[in-house]
Symmetry: C2
DNA sequence: AATATCTGTTCAGTAATACAGAACAGCTCC
DNA sequence: GGAGCTGTTCTGTATTACTGAACAGATATT
């Protein structure tokens, strides 16, 4: 039996943190205990510790917990360290203004899309912050652009996992997706045809690091009526062209 | 000996997280062990566990660790839950445009300022994101506006703690600060006279919750030449006036 | 209004495990 | 080539985290 060098009680505590989501931002002791199939008292001790340190906040009115401001601060430290974010910002502004649509930039994190930034064209109002949002690889433009450039092994892992349909356009058949991934590699861009959000089409171009490995992707998305096939091809060309002008060091 | 209901190994792990800062975003095993006066192997196990779960990332080139993207995601969940943020946004835009200077909004978190948002006037380019940044209470406009409205006990705690000077204008004498806090209470606004950043003046107005407790503050700041005493008073009046129009539910 | 059934909380004993400490390995710099 | 760093591995022991049951407070039900 090899040693695994991990602190198991810490693993349990992190599992507790992972219970919180946008849909369930507030959870109680029993709720979490049921989710993780653990003892109430165990969860209670973990929650108390997290609360004392500011990682969780306890709502006194209903005794439920939510993620605390300390996490916001930790995230700020990361954010100020993501230099790639600032490098891409002017570049994204150009794309947003050249296309007149929203431009997204996402990184590959594990086997998920991690949204880093959204830039709106001058004509649109800047909306909410999306830094830190996540989305699956199989049904988003950014995701498919990255997925197509992963190893066969990683692709299998994604395609063999659960792929719940987000809209009636979501591609849930692994074989159909495999064919599309080949097309993406040949074209150099991926298209999301309302697969993640109905009525929204999206074109995404992969971004590679200097080592040749996939880093992330840049996309432009908007209402489907404005995104007919010719527009899609033209938009992909614009992004690809602008990407070439970008000096990077990753 | 009363039970404390906390998981001590988790406390240690959180202490490890707290070692990371903007100045030291990357730390090694020995470095952390020295900081916390703990065994190297203990830190190693904690770091390994954090890394496996994505909370920390290990840089393979130098074996140092940094905060990972999972924290970014957790912070995103919080962010989308801070409704006060969106409530204040249009209001801050009005102030930024009415004064032509940057408008800040911060919450009181513990005994520190937690920056929530910065809005730049139309004439200035939006700069970096500051959500999650922190600053002390004793030497910032936002901080002093809040500090003046805390309990005597909390004020003592801040004034008796270390108050390192950020600039040559930073007020480090508790007695001088006490007099100023009284002025702030009477005037209804606080002034930061280059105490945190040299050359930058700032006017801040406190924001109270419905219960009457201090929640945070709103400030306007800019280069000192533009912020002479009459301008400061006028700016404070603008913020106060706009604040009255804000319907809140906190 | 009284009971039932949820919550969150406390506590003591035991089984698990986290940590100390030493030894090893890989690296850089003298 | 060795001396000083790193990070990593490993084992025994003492700490302590978890189990499980009992209690308390709130809410819902009858």
């Amino acid at each position: 039996m090899p040693k695994d060098n991990t602190v198991k009680s810490l693993k349990r505590a992190i599992a507790v943190l992972d219970c919180f989501s946008q849909k369930e931002p507030e959870l109680g002791v029993t709720e979490i205990a049921r989710k993780l199939d653990m003892q109430k008292s165990t969860i209670f001790n973990i929650l108390t510790t997290f609360q004392e340190s500011g990682i969780l906040i306890k709502n006194p009115s209903n005794n439920k917990y939510q993620l605390g401001y300390k996490l916001l601060h930790l995230s700020y430290i990361i954010n100020s360290g993501i230099s790639i974010r600032e490098d891409f910002l002017p570049f994204m502004k150009e794309i947003a203004n050249a296309t007149g649509e929203v431009c997204y930039f996402g990184l590959l994190d594990g086997l998920e899309v991690l949204y880093i930034d959204a830039v709106y064209p001058m004509t649109q109002l800047q909306a909410r912050n999306i830094l830190g949002e996540r989305a699956p690889l199989y049904c988003t433009g950014l995701g498919k652009a990255m997925l197509a450039n992963l190893s066969e092994e990683q692709i299998n892992e994604v395609l063999s996992g659960p792929m719940p349909p987000f809209t009636k356009c979501t591609i849930t058949d692994p074989d159909v997706l495999r064919i599309e991934l080949e097309e993406i590699r040949q074209n150099g861009f991926a298209v999301d045809n309302m697969e993640h959000e109905f009525g929204i089409r999206c074109v995404a171009v992969p971004v590679f690091g200097l080592s040749g490995k996939i880093l992330g992707a840049v996309s432009v998305s908007g209402p489907s009526p404005r995104f007919d096939p010719p527009t899609i091809v033209r938009t992909a060309a614009i992004i690809t062209e602008k990407l070439k002008t970008l000096q990077r060091c990753y």
